[in-house]
């Protein structure tokens, strides 16, 4: 088995507000290398009002990534945007069903496992994303340009967004198939969006991503890389700007 071109570093950390209240981190993420050197990334943010939001987020991200992994273990990449959309939808539906089943098993209402979900699949020629809720996915192309593939959506209030368990979650999900050669990819939950993007347009802020992508490219030890990302997310500079749970998944192609 050949070594992947992708270097990936990722972390989810509990925010200072949850530290104060003693609540667990409600962010979760998952990523896998796929055949043909593809990459799947899933990121989820449990709702603060959901007592089991952490469970919802872990289950959603793990299920989505696992489903994509299984799909592409023996099937070729989708042909065309419509097939990509259908593929992502199917995986998110499985995640949605898993969260619903967990709620039933625990005899609680679904909203107790409310979570956002971002699912991204990168190949050598495209990046396909489905997003329910806030946070965002940013891609760097072969020329070094940064593109936001999704926008962090909120309701009227800054702390309102859509969740996976909502009846209209799939109908209102953002779906995007970007065509190009991704050299780097970042996925993050809403805690970082005001640091990483210029709002309200949601354009990627280059001085945020450049050092991070460089770091991931240079770092060869997975554990070191993870620890550095964690330390970054826990740093005073970050926590002065956000007390939310934080998730950052970074991937860079190294030839």
């Amino acid at each position: 088995m050949s070594v992947s071109r992708w270097h990936v570093a990722a972390a989810s950390v509990r925010g200072t507000s949850h530290e104060k209240t003693g609540q667990a981190c409600q962010d979760a993420h998952d990523w896998r290398i796929l055949p043909d050197d593809g990459l799947v990334v899933a990121v989820a943010d449990g709702a603060g009002s959901a007592t089991l939001g952490q469970i919802g987020a872990v289950l959603a991200s793990w299920t989505a990534a696992t489903t994509i992994c299984a799909r592409f273990s023996s099937s070729p990449w989708p042909r065309g945007d419509t097939e990509w959309g259908a593929c992502l939808t199917a995986a998110v539906e499985v995640a949605q069903a898993a969260v619903g089943a967990e709620a039933t098993a625990r005899q609680v209402m679904r909203r107790h496992l409310a979570t956002t979900l971002i699912l991204a699949v990168a190949t050598a020629e495209q990046v396909a994303v489905m997003q329910i809720g806030d946070g965002a996915v940013v891609v760097r192309d072969g020329e070094g340009n940064l593109v936001s593939l999704t926008a962090p959506l909120s309701g009227e209030y800054a702390n309102e967004t859509t969740f996976l368990i909502a009846p209209d979650a799939l109908a209102t999900a953002q779906v995007r198939v970007w065509h190009g050669q991704p050299t780097s990819l970042a996925a993050f939950t809403d805690g970082l969006q005001r640091l990483a993007l210029t709002m309200p347009a949601g354009t990627p802020y280059a001085p945020f991503f450049a050092p991070l992508f460089r770091f991931v490219a240079a770092e060869t030890h997975a554990r070191e890389a993870h620890e550095q990302i964690e330390a970054f997310l826990r740093s005073g500079r970050v926590t002065d700007r956000t007390d939310d749970d934080l998730t950052l998944v970074l991937a860079t192609v190294v030839s």
Binding site: S17, S49, A158, L195, Q228
Partner: protein
């Protein structure tokens, strides 16, 4: 430490305005508040400010306005961030034009949201805290009734979160007809604790948890 050194020293952050959390303190300064109640209220306003000054995010997000009501409704302080908030010294006199006060608070909240939207600033659900020891006095019934109806509609639409706080000997039953939420009663005149609690609640909102029903830390000092 790897060659990559400290990421937090190398990564730069985008500059974005923080989402704002507008809070109107709607304060009864009618003659029945004379003496200890108004003195405690003044002390509580200072405690409110001092407590919020401790929190970096509260300083960036919370905007406080103060409206007093007696025979008149007066805007004492338009929305300012906590570091700009100079707690006023209030005196007590006159009747209690509560209906008009509620209208003013709701008007202010609505206008503030429009300003945010015009300027592309994100915001949280606004809060209004009405602090009173009595019921509407010297105000036509339909003014009060209209205010109550408007408040009910706004709450149903989640346009605002309104809390009625009755101090010592307040007519809680009357307040209950005005506010969607069960009015909170103060045991004695524990304003400092109340304002500290209010600022803790404010910090909870500023901590941006998506919420269906606004949950607040239970006040230890008041009965619900």
């Amino acid at each position: 430490m790897s060659e990559a050194s400290r990421l937090d020293e190398m990564v730069e952050f985008a500059e974005n305005p923080e989402p704002r959390c507008p809070c109107v303190l709607l304060l009864d300064t009618s003659s029945s508040m004379r003496g200890t109640p108004i003195a405690a209220l003044n002390g509580g306003l200072r405690a409110f400010r001092d407590d919020l000054m401790q929190d970096a995010l509260a300083l960036q997000r919370i905007e406080v306005a103060v409206v007093t009501f007696d025979s008149n409704v007066q805007l004492i302080q338009d929305f300012v961030t906590v570091d700009q908030f100079d707690p006023p010294i209030l005196t007590a006199q006159g009747y209690t034009h509560m209906g008009a006060a509620i209208h003013q608070a709701l008007d202010m909240v609505q206008a503030r949201k429009e300003q945010y939207r015009t300027n592309g600033v994100a915001y949280y659900r606004p809060w209004v805290f009405m602090m009173t020891d009595g019921e509407p006095q010297d105000e036509p019934n339909d003014v009060v009734e209209q205010a109550a109806q408007r408040l009910k509609a706004d709450e149903a639409q989640k346009r605002v979160a309104f809390f009625a706080v009755g101090v010592e000997k307040a007519n809680m039953a009357r307040l209950a007809t005005l506010s969607e939420r069960t009015p909170i009663k103060l045991k004695g005149l524990n304003f400092v604790d109340m304002f500290v609690w209010l600022s803790a609640s404010m910090q909870a909102v500023a901590q941006s948890q998506p919420d269906d029903q606004l949950a607040l830390p239970p006040p230890e000092w008041g009965t619900v």
